[in-house]
């Protein structure tokens, strides 16, 4: 079974700084998808960024980018120019291509301070 591990329960960063959240996963599949979701205090899950395993190029969405290392099974999220609104829980998630089931990590709580 696939597993997703987020080893940083909490992180803090100051406004305008850059922070990187770590995620590792375990799978025997060669093709799959990886996601980062944000859960603000409202608790609604918001899709931040996605990566297809067959793509070597790292995904980027505005201030959010990933470092996808397929051989190492690592998928970290970098947030540049952090903003107060980035304060939230961040979840890394894995999905097989054949079955649309998301497997989530336990999350990293990010606090952005002024």
């Amino acid at each position: 079974a696939q597993t997703v591990t987020q080893s940083q329960p909490e992180m803090s960063v100051q406004e305008a700084e850059t922070v990187t959240l770590s995620c590792t996963y375990d799978t025997s599949e060669s093709n799959y998808y990886l996601f980062w979701y944000k859960q603000p205090p409202s608790r609604q899950m918001i899709l931040v960024i996605r990566q297809e395993a067959y793509k070597q190029q790292n995904a980027t969405e505005n201030r959010f980018s990933v470092n996808f290392q397929k051989a190492a099974k690592s998928f970290s999220l970098k947030i540049s120019d952090s903003q107060l609104g980035d304060t939230a829980m961040y979840f890394c998630a894995f999905m097989n291509t054949g079955f649309q089931k998301l497997v989530f990590g336990t999350g990293t709580r990010l606090l952005v301070s002024p």
Binding site: Q100, L102, G105
Partner: protein
């Protein structure tokens, strides 16, 4: 554009009482639908998913059940709630084979007392 609704937003129920949570999606047809549960301080766990009307697959055996009476309606039910059923329940949809991205509703906070 597509929107997903869940109600109620919060619910407090005694042990042994029934449960019905509803999820509806607008702006799309034949979506894949999902029910997830988030226990306090933890990630999400898939409970049920559906690829069409009347088609339900269960991921975790428990005293919960799901039904899909209409294309864009997904219901989570229980005949008798347990204390361990407390949590945050999230419904999600995806466009099936068109897109693998899942989009979540606002969630229902359930407290079983």
């Amino acid at each position: 554009s597509q929107t997903i609704h869940q109600w109620p937003a919060t619910l407090v129920q005694p042990v042994g009482s029934p449960l019905s949570l509803e999820c509806t999606v607008e702006g799309t047809s034949n979506p894949n639908l999902y029910w997830y549960r988030q226990a306090a301080g933890r990630g999400l766990q898939l409970l049920f998913y559906s690829v069409g009307i009347g088609q339900i697959s269960s991921e975790v055996p428990q005293n919960l059940s799901a039904s899909r009476p209409q294309d864009r309606q997904f219901i989570l039910s229980s005949k008798k709630l347990l204390l361990s059923d407390s949590g945050f329940y999230l419904c999600a949809w995806s466009a099936g084979t068109v897109s693998y991205e899942q989009y979540f509703g606002p969630g229902t906070r359930l407290t079983v007392t």
